[in-house]
Symmetry: C2
Subunit: 511 residues, 2 copies
Amino acid sequence: MNRRDMLKLSSLAAAAASAPAVAEAAATAANVSSQVPRWDYLEINLAGPTSGNPFLDVTLAATFHHQNRSITVAGFYDGDGSYKIRFLPDEPGVWTWTTNSNQAALDKKSGSFECVAPGEGNLGPVSVRDQFHFGYADGTPYVECGTTCYAWAFQAEETQKQTIQTLSNSPFNKIRMCLFPKWYQHNRKEPSMYPFPRDGEKNDYSTFNPAYFQHIDKLIVELRRIGVQADLILFHPYDKWGYQSMPADVDDRYLRYVIARFSAFRNVWWSLANEFDFMKDKTAKDWDRYARIVADSDAFDHLRSIHYGYHQYEYWRGWCSHAGVQDSRMERAAGWRADWQKPVVFDECKYEGNIASRWGNISGDAMTRRFWVAAAQGTYCGHGETFIHPEDILWWSHGGVLHGTSPAQIAFLRKLLEETIAVGPGQIGFTAINDDPVGARRLNDSVIFYYFDDHQPAESTFNLPEGKTYTAEYVDTLALTCTPLPGEYAGKADVKLPGKPWGSLWFRQKV
Amino acid sequence: MNRRDMLKLSSLAAAAASAPAVAEAAATAANVSSQVPRWDYLEINLAGPTSGNPFLDVTLAATFHHQNRSITVAGFYDGDGSYKIRFLPDEPGVWTWTTNSNQAALDKKSGSFECVAPGEGNLGPVSVRDQFHFGYADGTPYVECGTTCYAWAFQAEETQKQTIQTLSNSPFNKIRMCLFPKWYQHNRKEPSMYPFPRDGEKNDYSTFNPAYFQHIDKLIVELRRIGVQADLILFHPYDKWGYQSMPADVDDRYLRYVIARFSAFRNVWWSLANEFDFMKDKTAKDWDRYARIVADSDAFDHLRSIHYGYHQYEYWRGWCSHAGVQDSRMERAAGWRADWQKPVVFDECKYEGNIASRWGNISGDAMTRRFWVAAAQGTYCGHGETFIHPEDILWWSHGGVLHGTSPAQIAFLRKLLEETIAVGPGQIGFTAINDDPVGARRLNDSVIFYYFDDHQPAESTFNLPEGKTYTAEYVDTLALTCTPLPGEYAGKADVKLPGKPWGSLWFRQKV
């Protein structure tokens, strides 16, 4: 498929996305008085110079005004004389805009649009809510439930379609994905496109390959259509093409380019890196600079984090909205949450599968357990899957279809958590039981749950908040059954339990 | 039963113990040229004054000579004008002895005995071997496999007999037991005897109750008969009688008394306390003093440690022969081992059971897993059991019978470990795999095993020591099956595995 076809496809995808489920719109400069649903995006298309090197020579930005606010966003060159500015309006009403460029053809263009009510399924971008959690801009809680398909953007088109299909029927509402192709075990194919023009082993870092990024546009919009957050991994070490050790000015230009392109998509998150500490050519100062560029350039303030291999990142740093740890020591979640005072997401806790590598062969029950242990501490776990496959299509990197047992169990947990949040106030606390963080409880006074892990009490006593009466339900977290327990519970409540491991007990306030 | 009957019973037990399986002997002062099997004990019985307070007024010790060695041990008063000195001879040949006392009737008594070859089943006392492990004095490795029956010494006689019977058919070769009675949940009965004469709520700390300690003598000898180490807990906080807060001089006299009584039994270990940090009336200086008394007074240098509740003891201290931790974070074992450079025993990692308290309701599989995780790191785990019982007889405190599923699984592991040690050199190393100590291996070059925990590789690659060829066996640690894998393995070995969790892989060098 050539770039023009890709553009057409992109338009088609955008059109498909304007179906009633999730309203989409793209305004052009000629269509200045268009309507844009809130948290959708406006795209201003301008024709400009093709001579010289537009990527380096042309500056372009637009300032958007709404009442007393003004927001400036950078534009980007999309090839073939096409210049674009994308904007994510977050407030209803009339917005006006004016461009600024060092090229007359692009300078001082202006227009306006009306930001109208969002369509069905458009809940706005996700941000941090209640210190340790997340929520959509429309107020709906977002129960983070992520998976990982690092290199799905670079697989066969059929596999990409399968990935979207699989995701839309899965519990996963976030996907970690790399913006650069991947070279690693099970990942030994050249991608069909490169982000920079490439001649043999040589990259031309002076320009970008717009088709490559247009393809990513399309995938992000597809994810947005099915309600999945795209956690975009900006750098990673599993590379044979040179992208892990580009000159500093190229790194910076690349960051500004992808931010200009993608930040108007409400479902974008930024992850500075996968396993930043494995990228030996980069220094702590480089990472600080990248963090500053992302934080400063993204006018829409998407969620930001970074993922490490061995050396835990200092997640207390201000630029991080949340922690994206790689660790299997789930019991440490509560301590980290308390230390960092922000949401803790286990972006990687090893993967369900059966490959030789130890990071890729935990059992489905073990994966589900990790989700529960994280949830019981008021934190979030991440999924991935690595089963041996005859064509080497492993969900963790390639996407495709899921083979494991944990997704159904994780779906069950996500549903329970979403119901909890629906009935309780926004703030969700956390109190450990004794010295054992795994036997933790998640508390919002209306719903309290305990996870028993490999414990099997046949009876136990629970101190419920005073002055409230609760019903109780025993949940088998692996068999996915909910069994109401007889009676009502209040104060210091003795409860008879099945005496089996992997259970959870849910108290719900009677109303 | 009165004290004299108890004494008779004690003698009977000693007589029973001289049956072929474990030879026993007790020499009297009149029987100076008797034979004593190596690592058995000599008991010198002397008649002395009954006036005044023999516990406080009379000093008694004996010095034993063998070739160029001389060892002085304290005697003790056993009531009714009976004074005793017990000695554990560790070298064959003729030993002579002379007493020293401030009482003429006990002073300058002398005699001799011949230390002869030990009887069958008498392997000598256990000490630290190869830095991180244990061995019997005769050279046989001792694979520590402990359980806990804190207050079994204070239960109905029938239950005590049951405990011995159960232990003799169990995998457990060490029992943690308190020298003071216990008052705690499930432990709300007065003992039939007290260590000090007691009038209402008042203890007479100026004397001891010999019958109480004669009973403990008998139990230790019973444990010795069945090959079980008696890990004697000297102090503990679960008390209603005052023993947790005695005057300092009473504490010290008590320690010297039990050391004089019990240290000639080769199966004795000393644990300064159960949960020392929960004993609020004792200071760090008290614990230092107790440690010094035990280390200085025990002429036979039995194994010594201490057990904590929340605040981990500083096990690097020189007086400790090994660590006796309370913790469920099994994955920390390797780190502690490296820090302390001594054997690490998880004396308490919670108990298999179903009671309300979280420390007493892990599943049998969870208990077994903890043993494997400890073993795979070259450390040792401890068992205990707390199932709800109609008469409140819980193995963890009362002994009796076992109800859980883990003992059979633990027996299976112990057998595998003992076979490993039998075929390999004494030194057993440990190397972690990557960042994940749970996926550890235990290595003596002749036998290498991996424990996969909740991982389920369907294939994996192992780096075997160079120049050796191995056979491989897949072990299901819960189903207790061993399945030989086809072929031979050497160097960087690819192995096909069942792809199930809770497995272990054993490489054995071909000879």
